[in-house]
């Protein structure tokens, strides 16, 4: 796959604060790239620089091999953007909002009409075409916000936290819609601080913190970066201190905590960790309930790399 976007040594300053520091990465055609990071990590700033909404101090951004500038209209017509804030006209209906924004890209009325119908179907707003934004719920508004950004069938779609403050049903609908966009061949740049979404959707992830890339790779590659291999949680009514100490001595165990009848055992890489734990509990005749084994998440990776949670 060829690179469709190239960001090289991008630096953006807000007065004396470096919001983005010497950032370089590429986006390949047809992939979903996740930009992951806590609030203030530089995700939105990076995206706004890529869209020429912000002037940056240093670096270059090329899209389709051409330099991205405010008046690069030939590039802009192939880009769709869904901002974090809902951007709609309160005075226009769902259909008119879509027609207005789509009309900024597509001149032909017949084509536009077909595209709008497709977008409405994609986000599931068929029954709300004549509604005004104030008549829609928060979730439906978000869907309309997305539809307005992608109705013109762009080759590149920027999605800036599109699922913030959205109900589960709308969230699933939005995520399904993004999958469909990918199936239709769109390249997607997806910023979020919801790691679950990144894990489900993204082919590749860039983790940002304080304006720099702290990790980059596929979700699985990133999980490899985490020191832990497995986290086992067991519900045990009562556990003596001596047992905790003995569990710590089991093979591959790196950390043990016991709190509110919940035993958490973190393992380093290795096999049969869960079996060795259950064998020990049975040998010591410790009754247990509800046992879970979890692989590390991107949040664990982030925690490992920065010492803080993604949603901090």
């Amino acid at each position: 796959m060829k690179n469709i976007i190239e960001v090289k040594k991008l630096t953006k300053m807000y007065k004396n604060l470096k919001a983005v520091d010497n950032l370089s990465f590429e986006v390949k055609e047809g992939e979903i790239l996740g930009l992951l990071g806590p609030n203030g990590s530089g995700k939105s700033t990076t995206m706004n620089c890529m869209l020429s909404l912000l002037e940056f101090k240093e670096g270059t951004i090329t899209i389709f091999g051409k330099e991205m500038k405010p008046n690069a209209y030939d590039i802009k017509k192939e880009i769709g953007v869904v901002f974090q804030d809902v951007a709609l006209f309160e005075e226009l209906t769902v259909y008119d909002n879509m027609d207005y924004f789509c009309g900024l890209y597509i001149k032909d009325k017949r084509t536009r009409k077909q595209y709008i119908e497709d977008a409405i179907k994609l986000v599931g707003l068929e029954d709300f075409k004549k509604f005004y934004p104030k008549q829609l719920s928060g979730g439906l508004l978000r869907r309309l916000n997305i539809a307005c950004g992608i109705a013109h069938k762009p080759k590149i779609v920027f999605l800036d936290e599109p699922t913030v403050a959205v109900d589960p049903q709308s969230r699933n609908n939005i995520l399904d819609g993004i999958e469909k966009l990918r199936e239709n061949g769109a390249t997607i740049i997806y910023t979020t601080h919801y790691m679950e979404e990144v894990e489900i959707l993204c082919d590749r992830v860039i983790i940002l913190d304080k304006g720099i890339i702290i990790a980059e790779g596929t979700p699985d590659e990133l999980k490899e970066l985490a020191n832990m291999e497995e986290k086992v949680s067991v519900y045990i009514e009562k556990l003596e201190e001596k047992h905790i100490e003995e569990i710590k001595k089991l093979k591959n165990v790196s950390e043990v905590t016991y709190h509110n009848s919940n035993l958490i055992v973190i393992y380093n890489k290795g096999k049969n960790n869960l079996i060795s734990l259950t064998k020990y509990l049975e040998k010591e005749r410790i009754s247990y309930d509800k046992i879970y084994s979890e692989r590390p998440t991107l949040n664990d990776v982030f925690l490992e790399l920065t010492g803080k949670e993604l949603r901090d």
Partner: protein
């Protein structure tokens, strides 16, 4: 793109209740209030024929003079002749403003003090005074020459004419020829409506700037040229403003019966340029100030109201006070440029002052647009 944005800008404006209220409804409401407040004042100040009664106890030429007196080709007095009882009854029932008892010395009986009673007293006083002057002249002439010569009659006639002329001038009703309070207020209302176009300009530009609104961000990342979007939006604002002004004129002329006089074309021309000034002011405020939309709207409304206040909306005296003490303020005040241009159509025989105000408004608009363009051009990136 131009027509697409124009179409949706118009649709957006017409469906925005707040904007429609300030642009369409508020001037009409204010116009209605002005009419209600000022029509009585106007009515009170117009000299109508005064109904009086004359009780002739003795033959007196005064009654002939009363019958001949006219204001603006209209009889000044409507006279009822009868006895004192009848006159008294009419006065009690307020059918007449007062009555005159003609005896050796005429007596005026009135029930209350008012403009009609004052005129009645004034006219009687003038007649008596004139009569005394003539009597004195005759007595003097006889005592000097023993006879009244033709030359004396000629002099006497000229003096009477002179006195008559003076009296006519004194009681001439000038209220209908001059600018009325109501019309002055409606001029400031036109100015206010024109300048309120600033709210439209402000709203439209805000919707198109990425650093001002989410919609602006979405438009900024689209392939639509900023210039096309801004020009078509401004045109939409101007069209809506013109519709607002047309509504105001139609309402004031046909519903409130305001007579704008014979200079309607000039009034319209000045108003159209005034609208441009209002719109450009809104565009300038939207482009230059990096503050939230509500604060900007507040600035436009406050500026408009202050401008109208200084140009005489809440009392014409303010315009004269500013003209006298800080004339520069009225020269740069767009509301005053509009109202002053409209006044000048009535006060001056030539159109020099009118054109001065037209040119001032054009300069004001160009200045506002130049400031906006400079600011928008500088914003190559939107710096959200």
């Amino acid at each position: 793109m131009f027509l697409h944005n124009l179409k949706y800008s118009l649709k957006t404006l017409f469906k925005n209740k707040t904007l429609i209220f300030w642009t369409f409804a508020f001037p009409l409401i204010l116009g209605t209030l002005f009419q209600m407040a000022f029509q009585d004042i106007e009515k009170n100040e117009t000299l109508d024929t005064i109904s009086i009664a004359i009780v002739e106890e003795k033959e007196n030429n005064i009654k002939n003079i009363f019958e001949e007196l006219e204001i603006e080709d209209k009889k000044m007095f409507s006279i009822f002749y009868g006895n004192e009882e009848e006159a008294k009854e009419k006065l009690e029932q307020s059918e007449i403003s007062g009555y005159l008892i003609l005896s050796d010395t005429p007596k005026i009986i009135v029930k209350e003090n008012g403009i009609n009673q004052t005129i009645l007293k004034y006219v009687v006083g003038e007649i008596i005074e004139t009569e005394e002057i003539m009597n004195n002249m005759i007595t003097y002439e006889i005592s000097q020459n023993g006879v009244l010569t033709n030359e004396f009659y000629q002099t006497l006639y000229e003096n009477i004419k002179k006195i008559e002329l003076e009296n006519k001038i004194e009681i001439k009703d000038i209220s209908s020829r001059n600018l009325s309070y109501t019309l002055i207020e409606f001029y400031t209302l036109i100015a206010m409506t024109a300048l309120y176009g600033g709210i439209l300009g402000l709203y439209l530009i805000n919707q198109n700037l990425a650093n001002q609104s989410s919609n602006g961000k979405r438009i900024a990342v689209s392939p639509a040229s900023k210039r096309t979007i801004i020009i078509s939006s401004a045109l939409a604002g101007y069209i809506v403003q013109l519709i607002g002004i047309a509504l105001l004129f139609l309402y004031t002329i046909f519903a409130l019966h305001i007579n704008y006089g014979e200079h309607f074309f000039f009034i319209l021309l000045l108003t159209l340029i005034g609208c441009l000034a209002g719109l450009s002011m809104g565009i300038m405020i939207a482009s230059i100030f990096k503050i939230n939309e509500n604060t900007k709207t507040g600035i436009v409304i406050a500026f408009t109201m202050l401008s109208c206040f200084l140009s005489g909306m809440m009392g014409i005296t303010m315009k004269y006070i500013v003209d006298k003490n800080i004339p520069i303020l009225n020269i740069i005040n767009p509301a005053n440029m509009i109202t002053d241009g409209l006044y000048s159509l009535y006060y001056y025989e030539t159109l020099d002052r009118y054109y001065f105000n037209i040119i001032s408004l054009i300069i004001f608009s160009c200045f506002m647009l130049a400031l906006s363009m400079q600011s928008l051009r500088r914003q190559k990136y939107d710096s959200i």
